[in-house]
Symmetry: C2
Subunit: 367 residues, 2 copies
Amino acid sequence: MQTLHVELGERSYPIYIGQGLLSRPEILSRHIAGRQVAIITNETVAPLYLEVLQQSLGGYSVACVVLPDGESFKNWETLQLIFDGLLTARHDRRTTVVALGGGVIGDMAGFAAACYQRGVDFIQVPTTLLSQVDSSVGGKTGINHPLGKNMVGAFYQPKAVLIDTASLNTLPVRELSAGLAEVIKYGLICDEPFLGWLEQNMSALRALEQGALTEAIERSCAAKARVVGADERESGIRATLNLGHTFGHAIETEQGYGVWLHGEAVAAGTVMALEMSHRLGWLSADERDRGVRLLHAAGLPIVPPQDMTPEQFLEHMAVDKKVLDGQLRLVLLKRLGEAVVTADYPREILDATLRTDYAALAHSINA
Amino acid sequence: MQTLHVELGERSYPIYIGQGLLSRPEILSRHIAGRQVAIITNETVAPLYLEVLQQSLGGYSVACVVLPDGESFKNWETLQLIFDGLLTARHDRRTTVVALGGGVIGDMAGFAAACYQRGVDFIQVPTTLLSQVDSSVGGKTGINHPLGKNMVGAFYQPKAVLIDTASLNTLPVRELSAGLAEVIKYGLICDEPFLGWLEQNMSALRALEQGALTEAIERSCAAKARVVGADERESGIRATLNLGHTFGHAIETEQGYGVWLHGEAVAAGTVMALEMSHRLGWLSADERDRGVRLLHAAGLPIVPPQDMTPEQFLEHMAVDKKVLDGQLRLVLLKRLGEAVVTADYPREILDATLRTDYAALAHSINA
């Protein structure tokens, strides 16, 4: 088992990474203060891992809330089911909420923990690659609003993150690829050598080789922990973690939550960020293509929905959380391995980026 | 103008108290960082004070959200109207939410500010006595759940509290009394000499004499600021501020939110806490009666709903936020001016307290 740490003063916490951690009760119990535990999971994950987790929590009074699966349920109505479950089971302020599932479960269970009785402990047990390398670390929690993704939420750190790499064995291929979008992101924004490693190991990752997966997860979590430790509330560098997300959120919102997986939308959005960075003269065509090729090799979409107009993109992007005083800030690449957040770009470059023929770009790199 | 301070390190903030502060733009603008301001108010307060506040905010881009009035609207559906308003007006992370109204508006606007884009600035402008002396100070925000009051919320401190004592001139008599319940509370839990002052000045307060009101507000806010500064997240002494609230919340929940005003339920709940403290041998009958008389003199109900059974009380009290590991902790008085939070009482004393004939008690003190 590997242990990383997110350093946030009195809110610091460990990330445990290893095979079979779900059935090691002594790890979880270190981080449970009271006698009550509420496991929040969904209909897909429950049949796979709920029983083994419940067994690991044998000494506690455990309540389970099983939610419907999918981004389209990341809303208030579903969140309310968590509060209903906690209140019906009479869970008090010392309860610990355990999120067992992917990013949607982690975001919702974390937000419920942040709000229930004005805040109770919680632990992340992410079971998808995307949540293991990204959303479970860093304390961003929340739900979607019909007018914008993750518009309602809280910064609320978990007491621990427990990553059982064995849970990836049951992950659908499409979701594995979605997780790889965030893994590739770390290479693009802050770790250029990692891009080379990923090019070498992409087949191993997609074949679920445990060694490669563990290394990719560790390297991703270490990058995330570093950035979050330096900027918990996203007043600066943390925003670079949103490479491809502003374009991607527009895709998700326009298509309807859950039609594109979050990681898929981020991948297409990252292609747009690569293109815009190229148009600004910061990336060469080769560097742009290298990024696009890696996303394609991960099995990800590299062409945004062709029926989406520039106006639709701009409309959704105008409510992005990175908008400040009317200025739309974008995460772009100064070079491979170095991201910036900037509102200082010519408007016509953004327009040209939105009008680019991405199908032709994909074709030109033989994707 | 008087200025008090809530000392919470980097989350410290001032409380301004004075007549006519709503029309002094320089006070508000000290605490507004961006260019956008969202005023959250309700249908009752808007016709009275919205225009003057908007004038004071002439230099900003101002959005207004006017909510229905009353505790029964302190729920998710109404909260959603705030998010809708903020998103429709494209307010970004640098917006400042201003709560203009009573406790319900302050709690909801504060919770919306805590959650909107994971947290934006907010300012409390309380217009009722209850919110001026209690709910606007200390950062407790939230909404009700059908199964319990204030069960969903956040600890989220304002950037400033601006108390315009002139706003009390339009306050309905019943709401003035409700506010006095919380004023009397400070005397009972931590300031015995204040009880004497209140006995002397109750008529002046109910006649809205500005000097008396200002002194009562200052003394109450100073007590609240002291307690909150010592225990922001209610791990100890802050819970004493909930004298009468556990019994009171049971009354509010059972009767349906808004039937009894919060302060009215707290008054009847405080009578029950006085009675229980007497039964435990901590207060003499005279001391208990002194507290009950003062509540009565403030125009408050001192008899709980006579159709509520002990079982109904216990059912609602079991989900109180002060329950820990199944133990119901109560705020009781060791003596007038000294409160304790304890789960260490004989169960039969609680049962006897719930079965007490409060109508007879009221009669015995000629109330």
